[in-house]
């Protein structure tokens, strides 16, 4: 019986005690000596020019060290490519403090640095800046007819596949058809931790940047490019991140500002954004979608058309995959997908949890509900009839897909059979009751990653990879993988991350960390295991003589033959007898393209939601959610469940609360704070059941994991919107569904 099989179990987070005791250090919490504070000043205008920064009167204040603006910023990199980070979209990245031109509201225009935070804030409030204002456009409605198809340029972006079949003719000839437009406004990530960078001046032009980021190497490369720093001049560290959700995928202006000030003043500097400034660093774009569906007499889809238009900035073509999913979630021979951008005087949008899919999924899955009603079918039955066993976008089979089992298990748990189809037909507690559902699909991808494993003579294993921990459970799952690979208890393993002194890992996004870094960790531990085997085979009487690595296993602190467990050596004995104080091994991992080429790699989910609507007040209460996810192998039942629970909360927020409202007269977000940008609170969250449908999949990667951070958000928003329709008979197509839209 093995005590060192950790994968698939539910251990508590290994970093939990640090977090609950307030002992985990986030990027603004490194106490470096002689620290100065920077406070960012942002533009109150949306488009125009800075005429004059009255910096001298602020510089004269006691304790103020410097005011940085385009007027005095030193010579920095000239070409766009120096500012392009790993996931920069096409176009020219924004350069803070580069020129007097204002291209979006809240554009950072100055940094005031002072001896204390209080002084920097005070001085920043007094800084006068003269602007020349020009007319701006921030309203997507005004650009409806000016959409354009973007080029490539961003990693992961795929233009929609070309049309298949005869989508227009098939729609015309369909037995039933629907056509509707769906919209949602801008949404902001709003992780709880503010973007903060503490830059430590190490002398001689060398710095360490403790930065809130989802990719320490991405930030390091950016800083090297922009500030002309050498590889050894800059180290970037982020051991704990207070939430990212995509906001930390690209280097933010906080790190630019803090590094600029540190290099110029030759003194350590911390820059922390305010919550208000957190609305100036990228967002899920305001999106309009047109969906047309048609059915055959047997309830199969005759035609599917999905077109999306969303905003981007004047300087970058921010792209995400919104409509592509619609060509693969259901079986349909006649499909037309379209995707366009429109330029506005705003900051570039930025990937936000399940970017593209979360938006497109609402359009598709609400339209599917509308289509089911038009065809007189139960929404679940309608989806079953159109189940896709093959990814028609690329004409390949799925490596694994247990969405059907998700439908069945979640429907049974939810009690879908108790639902009556007619809207307004169910009531409870004096309120209208609605039940709705929606499902989704997300990529299962793997990126190149590296890791290092070290074991000491006393059997303590340390594994390192410069990935991140932003709440996803990275410390824990990597510890589980490493411990299981070398047959150790969790307590004997330390996983270290978030430091550019460690082997490179990809930015933490796309739900690919478990697959990418997990495989690298496993490979590094296996490489170490091979070295240990060689040591174990040195003695003439070794019971493992002649065995290959495939013929042995590490279990319970022992190394033994797989086919004869009695032939075993104790791992610590081997290490101590070797005379080595430490053994180490490096390894990396990348996708096995030869194995994957013939398949479509995706995770799937479905969510069922129940709502109660007060007919007099229009208030909506979500009373139950059941979410079923098929995402390959689940590494940690506890942390994976938490990720899905969190995803459901996000889906609820998107359905009922979240919208950053632009006052187009000023081109400025007006609800840029937590009192007015509503996210769900504890009292909003009902009982949530999470079901994992296991998939065996050795094609996606050796661990068989597909990633769990984003797929769980899909379906939820549509399920709630569909439940509101079922409760009230009113179809709201612009999110969030607030009470005024029901009255």
């Amino acid at each position: 019986m093995s005590q060192t099989n950790h994968i698939g179990k539910a251990p508590s987070r290994v970093d939990g005690p640090l977090k609950v005791a307030g002992a985990a250090h986030y990027s603004g919490e490194f106490n470096v000596p002689n620290l100065a504070y920077g406070y960012v000043v942002n533009s109150p205008i949306t488009k125009g020019k800075i005429l004059k920064v009255h910096a001298d009167e602020v510089r004269a204040l006691p304790g103020v060290l410097e005011v940085f603006s385009h007027e005095n910023v030193p010579y920095l990199a000239w070409f766009d490519k120096s500012y392009k980070d790993q996931i920069a979209p096409g176009g020219s990245p924004f350069r803070p403090l580069h020129s007097p031109d204002i291209t979006f509201n809240q554009q950072p225009v100055a940094l005031v640095v002072a001896d204390t935070f209080e002084l920097a804030r005070y001085a920043a409030a007094l800084l006068r800046i003269d602007y020349e204002q020009q007319e701006h456009e921030t309203n997507l409605e005004a650009k409806r007819t000016e959409g354009y198809a973007p080029g490539g340029g961003k990693i992961g972006f795929q233009p929609p596949p070309p049309p298949r079949g005869k989508p227009d003719q098939a729609l015309k000839e369909a037995t039933h058809s629907i056509e509707a437009e769906y919209a949602h406004g801008a949404q902001h990530h709003n992780p709880m931790e503010l973007f903060t960078t503490t830059v430590e001046w190490r002398g001689d032009g060398k710095i360490t940047a403790y930065d809130k980021t989802q990719g320490v190497y991405n930030v390091k490369n950016y800083l090297m490019g922009v500030f002309g720093l050498g590889k050894d001049d800059v180290r970037v560290v982020n051991q704990f991140m207070g939430g990212g959700f995509g906001a930390g995928l690209r280097p933010q202006y906080s790190v630019f500002m803090a590094v600029l000030a540190t290099l110029e003043l030759k003194r350590s500097v911390r820059v922390t954004l305010t919550r208000q400034q957190m609305f100036s660093i990228g967002h899920r774009p305001n999106t309009l979608q047109l969906v047309k569906l048609g059915t055959n007499p047997d309830g199969t889809l005759a035609a599917l058309q999905h077109h999306a238009l969303h905003e981007t900035s004047q300087f970058e073509d921010y792209t995400e995959n919104i409509v592509n999913w619609s060509g693969m979630l259901y079986q349909c021979e006649n499909v037309k997908l379209g995707y366009e951008l429109a330029k506005l005087d705003i900051y570039s949008p930025q990937d936000m949890r399940a970017p593209g899919a979360a938006s497109g999924n609402v359009g598709l899955e609400v339209a599917m509900d509308e289509m089911a009603y038009a065809a007189g079918l139960d929404p679940l039955e309608f989806r079953m009839r159109n189940y896709a066993d093959r990814d028609q976008n690329v004409d390949k089979p799925f490596s694994s897909k247990k969405l059907r089992e998700c439908y069945k298990q979640a429907a049974a748990k939810f009690g879908w059979e108790t639902r009556t189809q007619e809207p307004r037909s169910m009531r409870a507690n004096g309120k209208l009751v609605g039940m709705g559902m929606g499902g989704g699909v997300w990529d299962a991808t793997q990126q190149k990653s590296a890791a290092k494993a070290l074991i000491s003579a006393d059997g303590k294993l340390t594994v390192r990879s410069a990935t991140g921990e932003n709440g996803t459970g990275t410390y824990t799952i990597m510890t589980q993988i490493a411990a299981e690979t070398l047959g150790l208890p969790l307590e004997a393993v330390t996983f270290e991350l978030g430091d550019t002194d460690q082997p490179e890992a990809p930015i933490q996004g796309g739900s690919w960390t478990a697959a990418s870094v997990g495989t690298a960790v496993k490979n590094a531990c296996d490489a170490l295991g091979e070295k240990i085997l060689k040591l174990a085979q040195k003695p003439a009487d070794s019971p493992l003589k002649g065995a290959t690595y495939d013929e042995v296993e590490f279990v319970n602190g022992q190394l033994r033959l797989r086919h004869d467990h009695a032939q075993a050596v104790v791992l610590r004995d081997v290490l101590q007898a070797s005379g080595e104080t430490q053994l180490e091994a490096d390894s990396s991992a990348q996708p096995n393209m030869a194995k994957q080429n013939g398949y479509s790699l995706h995770s799937h989910n479905v969510a069922f939601a129940e709502v109660e609507v007060d007919e007099d007040l229009g208030t909506i209460k979500v009373t139950r959610v059941v979410s079923a996810v098929a995402a390959g192998r689940i590494l940690n039942q506890k942390t994976a469940r938490s990720q899905v629970l969190g995803s459901v909360v996000w889906g609820l927020g998107m359905a009922l609360m979240e919208e950053t409202i632009m006052d187009h007269k000023f081109g400025r977000y007006v609800n840029h704070n937590f009192a007015e940008y509503h996210i769900p609170v504890n009292a909003d969250i009902p009982h949530i059941d999470v079901i994992f449908v296991h998939e065996d999949d050795d094609i996606v990667n050796p661990l068989g994991v597909k990633g769990i951070g984003e797929v769980g958000m899909l379906g939820v928003t549509a399920a709630i919107a569909n439940a509101v329709f079922h409760a009230t008979g009113k179809r709201v197509r612009d999110l969030p569904i607030m009470l005024d839209k029901l009255l």
Partner: protein
Amino acid sequence: MSQPLISAPASGGLPNPVPTGPVRLTINGETQTLQLAPWTSLLDALREYAHLTGTKKGCDHGQCGACTVLVNGRRINSCLTLAVMHEDDDITTIEGLGTPENLSPLQQAFVDHDAFQCGYCTPGQICSAQGLLNEGHAHSEAEIKELMSGNLCRCGAYVGILDAVKEVVDKQ
């Protein structure tokens, strides 16, 4: 087309900031004197001057609850109060409730129920939960959910938070 210029009103000589002075605070049973400007919030005093960074800044406006600490046993948003107002108070932060090696019952329950993900709102959640335990307010699930709703969690760990707080409440 250009519109009128925007310019802040000119001012002759900006007013100097208010000087700092000694402020005596008793935090987690230890009294220390910090040199603070009078407009320093209790939150900034804890994080930037006392280097007790367990208390978090999430909004600085009393809207998120991440900065919740206990003052004389009652929970408050430390961003909404000035440090100088608390010279005679007994301030307890997350560091005063337990350590990683010796967790309080609430802290342990948060770990057991996975009542957090990124961990940034967690100290505030735990201080808030400790406050409502101290106040004897939490009896039903609905009450716990309502009284914990001043503490935002963007990771959406609310189910675990409820379970953790309820477990400790039920044991009392």
